[in-house]
Amino acid sequence: MKKIIALSLGAMLMGSAASAANLVYCSEGSPEGFDPALYTSGTTFDASARNVMNSLVEFKHGETETEPGLAESWEVSEDGLEYTFKLRQGVKFHTTDFFTPTRDLNADDVIFSFERQGSADSPYHAMTQGASYEYYNSMSMPDLIKSIEKIDDYTVKFVLNRPEAPMIANLAMPFASIGSKEYADQLIEAGTPELFNQQPIGTGPFKFVGYQKDAVIRFARNDDYWQEPAAIENLIFAITPDASVRFQKLKAGECHVMPYPNPADLEAMKSDPNINVVSREGLNVGYLAYNTKVAPFDKPEVRKALNQAIDKQAIVDGIFQGAGAPAKNPIPPTMWSYNDATVDDAYDPEAAKAALEAAGVTDLSMKIWAMPVQRPYNPNARRMAEMMQADLEKVGVKAEIVSYEWGEYLERSKAEDRDGAVLLGWTGDNGDPDNFLAVLLGCDAVGDANRAQWCNEEFDGIIKQAKEESDQAERTKLYEQAQIIFKEQAPWLTIAHSVVNEPISTKVQGYKIDPFGGHVFYGVSLTE
């Protein structure tokens, strides 16, 4: 019986790429490689970590909360310094044309996956020529991890240098995917270590079949998956860089899911009976950061008055065209601990004018920095700055717009004595509020990613406490409190969270937008 099913599925495969067993995803670009530890872009993670691999801890499908993955369970020591993970038994690495595993996943694979990134002495560190592990470094893992110890074949202990609650969320990130040590050893022995970044092996729901550069990536279902095997037999990424062409392909039935539609096409997509548009707020925030170290922006009342002067709704309507929602908190609503009780500074130019006068600010002129690039959290910074300029004009504030080349912009905007307010944004890495609040607003980040140069002792104390607390309910309370202080102090004008729109064929069932901006096809099925 099984054979007959396999044969008929094979026949369907030959008949049409769009049959029930084959899901075609019109991806927007080519992956840089297939080793997620080497890269930071979502396009690469979609083709590797998110569909081919697993990590010790996983994000729940479509959520920012974590659940056990390759680790069945874990214990945290009293002092928050030791994390002991119990590994799941009987987990198989992929069997493919190019690799046949002889053993199941064990502690060696876990240690291998971290040591190759963290230790320059590891024989696996430079398997790929010119390898650098940017995410591992930017998440401060080298400072954080003191040692990783193998207790037995299925128990691994991580010892940290300081207590850090977001550690668990970090371990669910793509760079922390668990690879096969046995595969790495075989490649090194064969003298082809570079294949580690070209032909990935993981434990995930899909296994890698082949990649034709810039054209097609093929994956097949992993029938030995440690959870229920995926519903899709073949997963195909048809690389289609142009958004209008992706839409045409979706309409013609040449693909089932497409990312990043043109906002202008959304209406046509919604009215197409064969297309569903699924939407969700992205895990990001776009903001205008005042320099709180420079007068008069050092006064919260001045910052709040300027916030009131700017018509946020008009900006969101005009610039995001349905792909954005106004933001009031520094973290997005899809993230746990989002405090919906805070009240935003309402648009009120009269009150803004009065507040500025009361604060003794007259004839104010300022600079607005406009980013030179498009981002989901800010599709057109130049136009946004112009709208702000017009709004500020109405309350008697003169604004001048400045911009630099992107690398320069990021660097110069860090300066503590910077002149002007900066348009920028952030996309979450690990779904932990710490990843927004400490990274962007903590005292340690002044002169760096804290573009507001804002150091508030009360706020900073709370987020530091939350970082060391391992109980999530306690942490939630602390972060809710931090958001209230943020709102009172207003170091930023919070502008918008992007709204991710993804048109999918009506045949696709169970597809959820990933809050991290990824595209995950486990749990998705097709109807005929």
Partner: protein, 335 residues
């Protein structure tokens, strides 16, 4: 003939040096630090930045970097992309056949239609066909490629459903090598329907890419023909009672072809430029898209290696065109 070839090959040397200099300088003159661009909003610490600079060799003096690059070329090593971590030459060889296949089809289409159209227009000078053809050519020449390509997709793939929207081959076929040319590989693979699929996928991008060269070739053929048709020997041939087809098609055309061949040779450069847009729109995995991506990422090695290879191709094509002249017109060969 041999000395002619030798002389032409000698001119390769200064061109080659110039290209290496330009390719090397161009990407570095663009503002933007590749490490900062790679890090983006996430940023990179000062120590890490220094480490990466050393790793990529950016801490070396600029002349040293240039010498390393040139020394590499002579050893057949064009460097390694610091994005994909793969050798530049391997990436080029994987993608180049796709561009060649599309470019050749476009040039063949443009020539097969452009030359007869130009001849007919010249013979019927001032008549309706001539005027219609020349205005169409002007429109074709001025159309933005991306707009025209998208229009073709919307009409022929979207409304009529005659051709696939984009890509190089139907997703049900597994074809990988040996030549990299889909038309040949699909035949060799023996998978039924693969060749048809390859042809169907080629039609729209070929039309989009051929449009501008077609317009140029038609106009060039027309004006060259008009010039030749006024020559004494054509009048003589006519006076002898030779059939118009023979006069126009053989005697006049052969002489008119010399400037046309020049134009076809030169349009190789234009084609490569047009390929950037055509390849992006039609998701065609060629070198155009690859170069653009690499420029945006400031992937120095790929840009300087890729530009060099592309320049080399253009130089070789121009050489071939020069040789071809010799066959068409012995005066050049001997002169």
């Amino acid at each position: 003939m041999l000395s002619f070839l030798a002389r032409r090959l000698l001119t390769f040397v200064p061109t080659f040096v110039g290209v290496t200099l330009i390719a090397f300088a161009f990407i570095r003159l663009l503002p933007g630090d590749p490490i900062l661009l790679m890090a983006g909003e996430r940023g990179v610490s000062a120590e890490r930045y220094e480490q990466l600079r050393q790793q990529f060799g950016f801490d070396q003096p600029i002349w040293q970097q240039y010498l390393d690059y040139v020394a590499g070329i002579f050893q057949g090593d064009l460097g390694t992309s610091f994005v994909t971590k793969r050798p530049v030459l391997d990436e080029f060889m994987a993608l180049f056949p796709a561009t060649v296949e599309l470019g050749l089809c476009a040039i063949i289409l443009a020539t097969l239609i452009g030359i007869p159209a130009g001849v007919i227009a010249a013979v019927n000078r001032g008549k309706f066909f001539d005027q219609a053809l020349m205005s169409t050519a002007l429109v074709g020449y001025s159309m933005p490629i991306f707009w025209w390509a998208l229009l073709l997709i919307i009409v022929f793939s979207g409304w009529l459903g005659w051709t696939p929207v984009s890509g190089r081959m139907g997703l049900v076929y597994f074809i990988n090598g040996p030549t990299g040319f889909m038309l040949i590989d699909s035949l060799l693979s023996g998978q039924s329907g693969a060749f048809r699929s390859a042809v169907a996928h080629l039609i729209l991008p070929t039309v989009a890419l051929a449009t501008i060269p077609l317009a140029v070739i038609a106009r060039q053929t027309r004006s060259a023909m008009l010039e030749v048709l006024g020559e004494d020997y054509v009048r003589t041939a006519r006076a002898k009672g030779m059939s118009p087809v023979r006069v126009n098609g053989v005697h006049a055309l052969r002489n008119a072809l010399i400037p046309v061949v020049t134009v076809i040779g030169l349009s190789v450069g234009t084609l490569l430029a047009g390929a950037i847009l055509t390849e992006t729109i039609f998701s065609w995995p060629g070198i155009g898209k690859w170069m653009v991506d690499s420029i945006f990422r400031r992937d120095y090695q790929v840009v300087q290696g890729g530009l060099l290879l592309i320049a080399l191709v253009v130089m070789i094509v121009n050489l071939l065109v020069d040789v071809l002249y010799g066959f068409i017109n012995p005066k050049i060969r001997k002169g």
